[in-house]
């Protein structure tokens, strides 16, 4: 862990006891986020990306719980904190942006009040100063005529504007880290681009680290510095975004990139999307060994029995026996 490391997630394991057995939606996930770094967490539904986010900020729905591993924020372990301590971490040190802006906003409170109350709670400043800060926050996220919008309520904003307000709310406590879970999935393409560019610009300016959870490879490519690819609760590949997307080493990442339509593979009548057979296994019926092996085009006998460890291969790090074989 270097001094630039902001967040370190180490061997994080989340388990949910159910009557049909114990589910492990997040299994030994490790990654770091540096100061001012945007790290994408990408995966298909059921990969465990949202639960990883919730586990980091201590918002797991019962009966899910962190069963082992740790989350360290600026050298302080936050995974064992109680609810009271966690509340101080959320907002002040970690801001959150969710897919549906209405879950983060109080419908009965004006935008200005929500922003200034949050600022007062986290920054210990006066009401006037907080109001001033709220106005500046709205201007920063590009709300037109911000001064007159301070007293407006969430329902008076359009979807894109609401998501901007949520970003203002997440940033107003001057957190070191933002966790954004599918922040633009509910928005139209043109608005999505605006919101993503805004998030990226603000975090760069303030040196805020971002964990961006998404299923969209295009968003990952355009927005993030590094990417963590999750599959069935485990890290499949981790590395620099451009290297992962252009020269993926894990067969799953390669399949995922090939399955995403893009100008390079789409034009021409004979173009064909690469397809990965089957679909993500359910948590109740995880395959033995590497969870990807039943769908993998390069499956080896060892894949069926042993879970591969994260091993560097070329420019990226992958959990695949192709890498363990190569390094052996």
């Amino acid at each position: 862990m270097t001094e630039h490391t902001l967040l370190e997630v180490k061997d994080l394991k989340v388990q949910i006891p159910t009557r049909r057995g114990v589910l492990t939606p997040v299994n030994e996930v490790s990654f770091t986020i540096g100061r001012g770094e945007i790290v994408g967490v990408v995966g298909e539904s059921g990969a465990g990306k949202s639960i990883t986010g919730s586990a980091i900020i201590g918002l797991l729905d019962r009966p899910a719980r962190i069963s082992s591993g740790s989350v360290t924020l600026q050298g302080e372990v936050i995974s064992g904190l109680n609810e009271e301590q966690l509340r101080r971490v959320r907002g002040k040190r970690i801001g959150t942006v969710f897919q549906d802006p209405l879950t983060s906003l109080d419908p009965l409170m004006s935008i200005g009040d929500q922003l200034s109350e949050t600022a007062m709670a986290h920054l210990a400043i006066s009401r006037e100063a907080a109001r001033e800060k709220a106005l500046q926050a709205l201007i920063d996220v590009g709300i037109p005529a911000a001064e007159s919008r301070l007293d407006a309520y969430p329902h008076e904003f359009s979807g894109g504007m609401r998501q901007r307000v949520v970003i203002a709310l997440a940033l107003i406590g001057e957190p070191d880290l933002i966790i954004a879970d599918e922040p633009t999935t509910a928005l139209d393409v043109s608005v999505q681009a605006q919101v993503l560019m805004l998030l990226k610009r603000l975090c760069r300016e303030r040196n805020t680290g971002v964990m961006l959870i998404t299923h969209d490879m295009g968003v990952i490519a355009e927005t993030t510095d590094r990417v963590v690819v999750l599959y069935a609760g485990r890290v499949a590949e981790i590395g620099n975004t451009e290297q992962v997307l252009t020269s993926a080493k894990h067969p799953y990442t390669r399949g995922l990139v090939g399955a995403t339509p893009n100008p390079a593979n789409m034009d021409g009548d004979n173009a064909r999307l690469n397809q990965i057979p089957g679909s993500m296994p359910g948590l109740l019926a995880l395959p033995t060994g590497c969870p990807f092996h039943p769908r993998c085009s390069e499956v080896m006998p060892v894949c069926k029995t042993e879970q591969p460890a994260l091993t560097p291969l070329g420019d990226t790090t992958i959990a695949c026996h192709l890498a363990t074989e190569a390094s052996a």
């Binding site: 298909e44 139209d188 681009a193 299923h215 997307l245 399949g255 893009n262 999307l273």
Partner: protein, 327 residues
Amino acid sequence: MNDSLISVQSLSRVFDVSKPWLNRVLSGQKRQTLKAVDSVDFTIERGTTYALVGESGSGKSTIAKMLVGLLKPTSGRVHIDGVDLTNASAADIASTRKRIQMIFQDPYASLNPRWRVRDIVGEPIDAFLNVSGAERTRKIDELLEKVGLSSKDGAKFPHEFSGGQRQRIGIARALASDPEFIVCDEPTSALDVSVQAQVLNLMRDLQRDLGLTYLFITHDLAVVRYMADHVGVLYLGRLIESAPRQELFDSPAHPYTQMLINAAPRVDGFGRMHEAADGEIPDPISPPSGCHFHPRCPQRLDACRIEVPVVQHTGRRAVSCLLHGQS
């Protein structure tokens, strides 16, 4: 080249979105209408895929519903292989119906959860084809195998399948009445990328094998680029540009099309900082005057606020924009 299967002429649909009568009287409001689709024209050639792209409020799903007969147009005509669906005899409409099918967006809501797969796939067979018993069973098995499932799956219920497999069941149902034309309403927007690829490839294979004609409705330009032969771009109910795929992506003419293509995230767009277009889609109940796009348009002229642009045809491209060859 002139072998068009579907021809849509000045198709419009207006919805009454007023408050209930008593509320209107009490608060003195006028009736409110929403022009979801505004004089849309296009033709689809046999065996090709026409994609309609648009964001929310563009009217793309309303057009789909009018084409399959779930909604009546307010005005305009829909011809299918020469039969005017808006003005045909009941018998003609009934016989045309089996030639048109639809693939839906939501793999969870589009299959009746209480029905077995073989009954879901068999329903159009019962409605249109005069087969029963062993032949019906054989046809259902064949359909399931055609979409990459096994005939054993017929005895299962929808909840036993993943999203992608459910969408395959939906495709099998759409194929059951041996249609020629299939309207696909965002068929992969609820699916994961790796599964989307399977379904898109399957749809292309089926088109090639069965000579199907598709109307593909989507908001996803990347999918359009993969699936479409010809693309129409909708904005607030109006068709603002239509062109063959390659032409549209290589040289988009309408500023909205340009913005849309530019805003879509690209897998090869590493670290791209693009200045996305201003503003958001206006409320379709009270759209901007003149060209609906003018408040957001970086190239707007004064006239755009007043004048509704007329469609200009150049080759196989049609554009509605004052920048393009208007007098």
